[in-house]
Point group: C2
Chain length 152, copies 2
């Protein structure tokens, strides 16, 4: 075996996708992401997606309502970011994006921007309104060109 | 948030599934598994599966041939185990199993015995003869009740 095969392998840019709802696996996934980011001095991106499918026609006609939802999601992500900093993670970025399917938004918008080498996702993160339940992490694991961990 | 949400989360029993062929993602997956096991003093199980589908009728009538294949796989796993010990992992177990589909053997035989809290798999581990290519890790991620990381 070559020497390279004996080098440690860990991640330097960790992206965690969080759900608006506080599912048990989100909490465990977040704890894992924080632990890795702290212990290996990695950058931690904390991302959440506002799905357009979630937006009713009523809301879409009311910019104030949309802003309210956006602000709500930003506050949730900011809370996670604060928690990560308190935990000891030095490089934290909050990311809030919008679009169609969560997995597409993550792969097409967030990943090209943040350039993670690991995506962390709780197994039961599925975004309440999502047509295909319970499998954001699995769909990311399938479609992503970076490593993905599905936490249970 | 409760205090528990601020506890580090890492894994104590890491199972890596290796392919007989030395695929690039196996090497990276193995390096990650070794790194985690060394840095968090976790148990490392190194597993490979001899698929019955791989066995020709000719071989199945020749016990010596089967033993030869079994020994070949055992030597491969033992080489990985030695590498892990040299790397600094203290608790290493070699596991060689046999059966039908790799993912079923891993989930039905190896997991109940080793009881991992993380399964590590390279993204392109698919076992040469396997009917459904390239997706052992994804199938494990889908079916497993423990956390799974798919390394690319």
């Amino acid at each position: 075996m070559t020497d390279e095969n004996n080098n440690p392998l860990f991640f330097r840019r960790i992206l965690i996708t969080i759900d608006e709802d506080d599912r048990p696996s989100t909490s465990r996934a977040f704890r894992f992401a924080m632990t890795m980011a702290r212990d290996y001095q990695a950058h931690l991106g904390i991302a959440s997606v506002m799905e357009n499918n979630d937006i009713s026609i009523y809301e879409s006609l009311m910019p104030a309502k949309l802003n309210e939802r956006r602000d709500h999601l930003k506050r949730i992500v900011a809370t996670y970011a604060e928690q990560a900093k308190d935990f000891g993670v030095e490089q934290v970025r909050s990311i809030v994006a919008e679009g169609g399917d969560v997995d597409d938004v993550v792969l097409d918008k967030i990943v090209p921007d943040f350039e993670p080498d690991l995506i962390v996702c709780g197994a039961d993160v599925d975004f309440a309104s999502h047509g295909r339940p319970g499998a954001i992490g699995l769909r990311l694991a399938k479609k992503s060109t970076t490593s993905v961990i599905v936490i249970r």
